[in-house]
């Protein structure tokens, strides 16, 4: 299960894994959770859950509009 995330499995290995996941509910659940772990890692790399870049944009916008009003 873990290895198929790091290398291509042979046809036999794929068949064997498919069959095993069909009969082993616990393993299927584990496999799903490993999928989630991969997704979580990708989100983590993107900085999801961290302060958004919107703050920078908002500050820029605020500063610009403030400057404009100051000039006016």
């Amino acid at each position: 299960m873990s290895m198929r995330r790091d290398r291509e499995l042979s046809t036999d290995e794929n068949e064997s894994l498919k069959h095993h996941l069909y009969v082993c509910i616990n393993c299927k659940r584990f496999d799903t959770q490993l999928d989630f772990l991969s997704r979580l890692s990708k989100k983590y790399a993107q900085g999801v859950g961290m302060p958004s870049t919107a703050t920078i944009r908002n500050i820029d916008a605020d500063t610009d509009s403030d400057s404009d009003s100051d000039k006016a």
């Binding site: 873990s2 290895m3 995330r5 790091d6 290398r7 082993c24 616990n26 393993c27 659940r29 584990f30 959770q33 490993l34 989630f36 772990l37 991969s38 997704r39 979580l40 890692s41 990708k42 989100k43 983590y44 790399a45 993107q46 900085g47 999801v48 859950g49 961290m50 302060p51 958004s52 870049t53 703050t55 920078i56 944009r57 500050i59 500063t63 403030d66 400057s67 100051d70």
Partner: protein
């Protein structure tokens, strides 16, 4: 005029303070990223410090096309390469990837399975796991779990799953065989799954 200048100056100061806070909030991730590449916490801190300073002085070039973290990571990659170039002639690769693995409990992995080779633990379904991906606390729990991995496992996992590097590249980087790399990755995933399960889905946060 002086009043307007003072007002603009204080706004700029406030803006820079807020930017600093926002950029600074990515330090933990950047240190992990740099440590995965450099294998040295102190060197990683040094490179990240340079990265954050470069980011602060060049924040105007951030277009917002990517996330702030992606932008910072791009700067960090160049800093890491610069650093590696500077020290590559003096550095010897002496750290074995498996040296510290399993040192606390060499049999921890075997203990997860019964005598027939099946999992001892019955895994429960994680309810709406995607909701956790919206919560900052969950990512803190994830970081905490990664920090508990043996050092080499943490580096290998980070390179594979977070940075998305190919295993061949990681093997070369770590000077380990492919099969060793797969074993380390498998154990890291098992350990992380268990930690996240206990600390979040079955624990206080979930």
């Amino acid at each position: 005029m002086t009043t307007l200048n003072n007002s603009e100056s204080s706004k700029n100061t406030a803006r820079r303070t807020q930017l600093f806070t926002e950029i600074e909030s990515h330090r933990g991730y950047l240190i992990r990223f740099a440590t995965a590449k450099l294998r040295d916490g102190a060197q990683a801190e040094e490179v990240v410090q340079e990265t954050l300073l470069a980011a602060l002085s060049g924040v105007d070039s951030f277009s917002g096309q990517s996330t702030l973290r992606t932008w910072l990571t791009g700067i960090l990659k160049f800093k890491v390469i610069d650093f590696q170039r500077a020290v590559i002639s003096e550095r010897a690769r002496t750290v074995s990837a498996t040296a510290d693995d399993d040192s606390a409990d060499p049999e921890w992995f075997d203990k997860l399975f019964d005598e027939t080779g099946h999992w001892k633990e019955q895994f429960s379904d994680w309810q709406t796991p995607d909701n956790a991906l919206e919560q900052k606390q969950f990512f803190e729990a994830f970081e905490h779990c990664m920090d508990k991995l043996p050092e080499s496992a943490r580096r290998v996992f980070f390179q594979r799953e977070v940075m998305g590097n190919e295993t061949e590249e990681i093997c070369k980087d770590e000077a380990i065989s492919s099969s060793n790399c797969w074993v380390i990755l498998h154990r890291a995933r098992v350990s992380l799954r268990d930690c996240i399960n206990r600390s979040w889905f079955q624990g206080n946060f979930g």
